[in-house]
Symmetry: C2
Subunit: 423 residues, 2 copies
């Protein structure tokens, strides 16, 4: 890493020694899990570069944008409407929550029986390890689960925080509540940035975010091919980077990668032989560098062809209607789009069962692996429902894990047995 | 138990053998924990009688009411507005959720990492052990925590269920959502009972429920005396029975008991010597027969002088304004009253910190014990906040437990040390 990067991290008040250690582990982990792959796409070079500079050049870009007067908004959830953030001239970034860093410190603020993702975001803050978080002018939380909802109360003492109330049903009254929350967020953004969100600005922002969704939908559709043209690890990484990278540059790069994928599919080429067991991973989000389970699955004779999670199809399936002319029209369209999210925070949430069944069919999967973070109650409940709703359609395996490496052998044993069963 | 009771339980399709076992254990447990107390109030004889007939005479009354055309509504939460239920001519009862019965069966429907209360209510249903639940024409659930919210999805296959969405903040939009939910519940009740809720009916129902709250407030206030005139176990039992018993009869009986308490206080008499360390128990609800922690506390040299929980002050602190003249006025008053509840489901929930500090002062407590059921995330988070907010004011001890007896010795050791420290 360059001296300029180090100076920047120092200005951001990172714990430089611990941060060096984190980057070293991340680099080695990435090497083992990503660089070891065969038949990789040329387009993944961009991802390798972005990841190698995830705390470097991208943070530099963000700092440069800040120097030009742009604000930075950090989030942990796909419910925060990026369209509004961009329309206010701010940048929106997903925050670090995928590694065990600082989790021991986090246990002073949140209960031990808290999922690894929440402990991680508190831990990254307390251990001063996330340059994205330290770049934020505002962090936007939400009420999607008890764990996050209550953890934000402690987090509010650590960072500038705004919390959006996400409703728990899809009634008209719940939609009204969400509408008010979107309007309230718009006011907060205008206040933060000094920018008035006009129809022109919002239309452009909706287009940018929809374009990113469209290119990720294109990527998803290409994964229906057998042999699978891209590994699940690489596809997950692309989805992960979609939360960090400049959205327009990212869309262009993934478009090029999809061109390459199309050529592969046409040539009948893939990352694993035709007939390799195809797995859909469904459940909790996997934040960078939470690559453990995909690596174990793809080292057990299977290939992952879909990620049904917030860092996956849940974030890209639905577009915002682009026909609105006024800000009011567009807000209504935004509200409608976000209320379609099939998060386990809703009750009931039958759409998710239907969406997973549909993905399993379209992507021709041989098995669904339900992934829950330990202590994530919403997705643990839905894993049990998923097993029942997919019974007789496609085999399922439900796994609960966290960010530690202690259970890797145990996971491998269960996954190998599952892959053998569905082969 | 009489043959008539057995015939009734058989008609309710209870598992008679398992139910006999449950009543036997309950009787023994009650004997050990309640009948062993010294200086007990004469007024507690009524409670002993009610509890001895909790699955007998009270169920008979409910069945008789059903035969006369009344409907029965069961709940697990203080957010379900009993005023509306009564105004529709229905009975409202709290459902069994305080014992381990059937918890092993429950793990087929809810994750292992689910709190004991939720496993219990699912378990009571699957094991056919709760005559209240089997008497219900409708069960009303709510979205107060992830565990219950998602468990109701499984429970909906087992019983006639209506779920109310409780908001997660106290914004105006959140209040609007709750207003709509109250109106929706009213429509469900009118549909269920065929009764139109008139101003006259609703006014009478509000009076009944307020009167019960008032007498329980009177009971709470009398516990400020030193020596404590009633044990925490008995006070908890009274609060527990308030969810089962006929509300008007209950109010009369507790009024009589309060007269006796007043005489005791005037005479300087109590259940423990003056100067006995006084404890406030704060946190998760304790449903019948979850008397483990109060028993351990009061066997460790302390006396409990307040229960800050849903089966305690949270259910009785706030009255519904009685000045409304129209149904609309009264609904607004109901909505306002229920939005004051300081449940850990809200974020933020500073009122609860203030209410606990206030109780600690009024009741002259020497220590606060934060009680969380294992895997109850909302109250576990708030226990950590409570420790901080009470620091320097009153000593606190946070305990996590479940319904098993395995940790009794461990709890006793920690509680004895705490009691010694605050003495």
């Amino acid at each position: 890493m360059s001296d300029a990067h180090r100076a920047m991290w120092e200005r951001l008040n990172l714990d430089l020694t611990a941060h060096d250690g984190l980057l070293e582990v991340l680099g080695k982990f990435y090497g083992d899990i990503y660089m070891s792959q065969e038949n990789r796409l040329k387009g993944m070079e961009y991802m390798d570069f972005v990841l190698s500079e995830v705390h470097g050049l991208r943070i530099k870009e963000i700092q440069d944008a800040k120097a030009q007067g742009h604000k930075v908004v950090g989030t942990f959830c796909v419910f925060v409407p990026e369209e509004l953030t961009l329309a206010a001239g701010a940048l929106q970034v997903g925050l670090c929550a995928g590694a065990e860093a600082g989790s021991d410190l986090a246990e002073a603020l949140v209960p031990r029986n808290t999922c690894a993702l929440i402990k991680s975001f508190i831990g990254f803050k307390l251990a001063r390890l996330c340059p994205y978080l330290e770049s934020c002018d505002l962090v936007v939380g939400e009420t999607t689960c008890d764990g996050k909802k209550k953890a934000y109360e402690a987090f509010a003492d650590l960072a500038p925080l705004h919390v959006m109330e996400v409703p728990q049903t899809k009634s008209l009254a719940a939609r009204d509540l969400w509408y008010e929350e979107v309007m309230r967020y718009m006011a907060v953004l205008e206040d933060l940035t000094g920018v008035t969100i006009t129809a022109e600005r919002l239309r452009a922002a909706i287009k940018i975010v929809n374009d990113r969704r469209r290119v990720l939908q294109r990527l998803s559709a290409l994964r229906a091919a057998d042999p699978a043209p891209i590994s699940g690890r690489d596809a997950l990484l692309i989805n992960q980077i979609s939360f960090y990278d400049d959205p327009q540059r990212f869309t262009t790069k993934i478009g090029e990668l999809c061109d390459e994928l199309e050529a592969r599919v046409a040539a009948g080429q893939g990352v694993a032989p035709a007939g390799t067991p195809r797995v859909l991973v469904s459940g909790c989000p996997m934040a960078v560098p939470n690559w453990k389970l995909p690596y174990v699955i793809e080292s057990s004779g299977a290939v992952i062809v879909g990620e049904e999670s917030c860092i996956g199809s849940r974030n890209t399936r639905d577009l915002v209607d682009e026909s609105g002319e006024s800000v009011e029209d567009m807000i209504e369209a935004l509200v409608d789009r976000y209320m379609k999210i099939d998060c386990a925070c809703f009750t009931p949430n039958e759409e998710r069962q239907e969406n997973v069944a549909e993905m399993a069919k379209t992507l021709k999967v041989d098995g669904v692996i339900n992934y829950s973070l330990m202590f994530c109650q919403p997705y643990a409940h839905e894993a049990m429902k998923m097993e029942k709703s997919l019974e007789g359609k496609v085999p399922t395996l439900s796994l609960e894990t966290d960010y530690s490496m202690e259970d890797v052998e145990q996971l491998k044993t269960r996954i190998e047995a599952f892959v053998e069963m569905v082969s």
